[in-house]
Amino acid sequence: MEENCKDNNCIIEIIDITKIYRIGKIEVKALRGANLKISGGEFVAIMGPSGSGKSTLMNIIGCLDTPDSGKFFLENIDVSKLNDNQLAEIRNKKIGFVFQTFNLLSRSDTVRNVELPLIYSARGAAGNRKTKIFDSLKSVGLIGWEKHKPSELSGGQRQRVAIARALVNDPAIILADEPTGNLDSVTGEEIMAIFQKLNREGKTILLVTHELDIARHANRIIYLRDGKIFREEKIDMPINALEMLEKMPKLEDKLN
């Protein structure tokens, strides 16, 4: 056990990681020694201007990329030493991605989209699969939309399909990259309400955004600048999305 991670509840621990991209002869230092620790059950927002290394940090935490130096522990596993196949397995089992552009398979219906991570995981029999898909659709309020294709769904519904997909393998952490960026404010608030509900149920959520209003739904905001953690802020009274929604104009579909 690493000494830096004294509390057993530590889910993400990043120690002094760097990442340099080379575009032709120019070196871009995307991360220059970032340190970060996130405990299980936290709701953390990462903010920063473009070029601050946000995306790189997200890619590394999401196991899509590996750091050049430094250490990254995900649930006490040293991810920086894993190969491509092992990283794919971590992505499959421990991480749920939610993207700004939803990234759904346009030809597949809701169920097939949500099922996607299960196709690539060894465990889970067919019967078990159906339960998992149903449970995660239920928790995002999409029961009744199983057979719809993404083109037949609204933006908010598409993002909820994406969240259901992120949830289906019961990951340790949900990574949301600008999840409200393509949505109007009411729909965005609905999505935040889902994240808050999932967080209350015990999910660790890591949210990247450049909107302070969105970031203030989290318990903690981390500010990134020039590839380093620049400042941290504890939010004692995060915005409650459900309360916000009450004040906003009425919406069509209710959240449970």
């Binding site: 899509l64 196949n85 992505r91 993207f99 996607l116 991570p117 196709i119 690539y120």
Partner: protein, 411 residues
């Protein structure tokens, strides 16, 4: 297993959503496989019908024709010189063979020609096959009604004939021809028998449009010749056909007084050799067509590779998504490989159906009788699978190697 099933499902979804494109891509394979299967079936069918008709003539037959076949093939000049060999075979040769050859059960001479047959005011042209009484069993002349001419008919140059069904239909209609007098090139003949119907041969010739008579009658009364066109001899067993052929050759060389440095003025062939020739011809035919079809398969494969590369580029984002949720490189590789194999096998199956349709049509409307066997179908499926694998592996590897971050950002 479940993953294979998933991949096949995904592959079919992607084919169905691009029906026209998938069909055009498969066209090369469809044509290639269709051509291979159809041509092999036609080849097999032709071979079978030739073999059948060769065996129809009779069994264990050795055929002697005048002139040296091998030399005739050497050139025009040689051919002119050999023309005098046209008259090389005589009825005496047949008698000599019958008398001396130990491996020959019987032999019959033949004069082959064609003549105008007249009955009352009707006439028709029919093939003439004049022989001895032995032709009845050597040449499989089955007599349906009446009788075949006898040895004494042959000896006396009797004006008697047996005729085939087509001749009867044209000249007699419903009238019983037996005992009637017909004219062959103006000479009177009595019909004494009806030859049992043999149908058409593999070249579409009507074998029933024929007439047979004693060879002596044909030689002396009809055509005024002393030579014969062919000797048909039957060996004692199918196992000694080649020895029997050699024996016939030796006897004829002696009968013709040929010196050791002189070449044969006749050609001896046996049924085994004929069948071998048929086999060789159909094999050449099959190989030629198959290699053309193989090229079509190659072109089809290139088409598949092309469309798979397009598909990988189009679906870069999908690949990124799949990788983000945990697909390994080999999962992506497998998915695209399955897709190209599904494409090529579907093409192969459509090609086989196409070939079956062509065979059925040919069977119905032409004299070709294609026989579809399991071999070309298995071959076609194997080949199209291999084409799919071979031309799919590169696009699939490109897909598998995509960087997930770049793929997710791809517009």
């Amino acid at each position: 297993m479940r993953r294979l099933f998933e991949s096949i499902k995904i592959a079919f979804q992607s084919l169905v959503s691009n029906k026209l494109r998938a069909f055009l891509t498969m066209l090369g394979i469809i044509i290639g496989v269709g051509a291979v299967v159809a041509m092999m079936s036609i080849g097999t069918g032709a071979q079978e019908s030739v073999i059948n008709s060769v065996q129809d003539i009779g069994s264990n037959l050795i055929i002697v024709t005048p002139g040296n076949r091998q030399e005739q093939q050497q050139g025009f000049k040689q051919m002119l010189e050999d023309d005098r060999d046209k008259e090389a075979l005589k009825v005496e040769d047949v008698k000599m063979i019958e008398k001396e050859a130990k491996l020959i059960k019987g032999a019959a001479p033949a004069v082959l020609s064609s003549s105008i047959i007249t009955y009352l005011n009707k006439n028709t042209r029919a093939s003439v096959y004049a022989s001895s009484e032995k032709a009845e069993y050597i040449y499989n002349f089955e007599i349906e009604q009446g009788q075949f001419y006898t040895a004494s008919d042959v000896q006396n140059s009797a004006n008697v004939a047996v005729i085939g069904r087509t001749v009867i239909n044209k000249l007699f209609g419903k009238i019983d021809p037996i005992g009637k007098i017909i004219k062959v090139d103006g000479k009177n003949f009595t019909v004494i028998g009806i030859i049992k119907s043999k149908g058409t041969d593999q070249f579409g010739n009507d074998q029933d449009n024929s007439i047979s008579m004693p060879i002596t009658t044909a030689q002396h009364k009809l055509y005024g010749i002393d030579y014969i066109n062919m000797i048909i001899a039957q060996s004692t067993s199918e196992n000694n056909m080649n020895q029997a052929s050699n024996e016939v050759e030796r006897i004829l060389r002696r009968a013709h007084n040929l010196r050791t440095d002189e070449k044969n003025d006749f050609t001896v062939q046996n049924q085994t050799q004929l069948l071998d020739i048929v086999g060789t011809i159909t094999n050449i035919f099959t190989i030629t067509i198959s290699s053309i079809a193989g090229i079509s398969l190659l072109v089809g494969g290139i088409g598949i590779m092309n469309i798979m590369l397009v598909s990988v580029t189009e679906r870069t984002r999908e690949i990124g998504i799949r990788k983000a949720v945990g697909a390994k490189n080999k999962d992506i590789l497998f998915q695209f490989l399955v897709e190209s194999v599904v494409l090529s096998i579907t093409g192969g199956i459509l090609g086989i159906l196409f070939a079956v349709a062509v065979s059925i049509i040919l069977n119905r409307f032409t004299i070709l009788k294609p026989t579809i066997s399991a071999f070309p179908i298995i071959l076609a499926i194997t080949f199209s699978t291999m084409v799919g694998l071979f031309f799919g592996i590169y696009p699939a590897m490109r897909a598998a190697r995509l960087n997930p971050i770049a793929a997710l950002r791809y517009e």
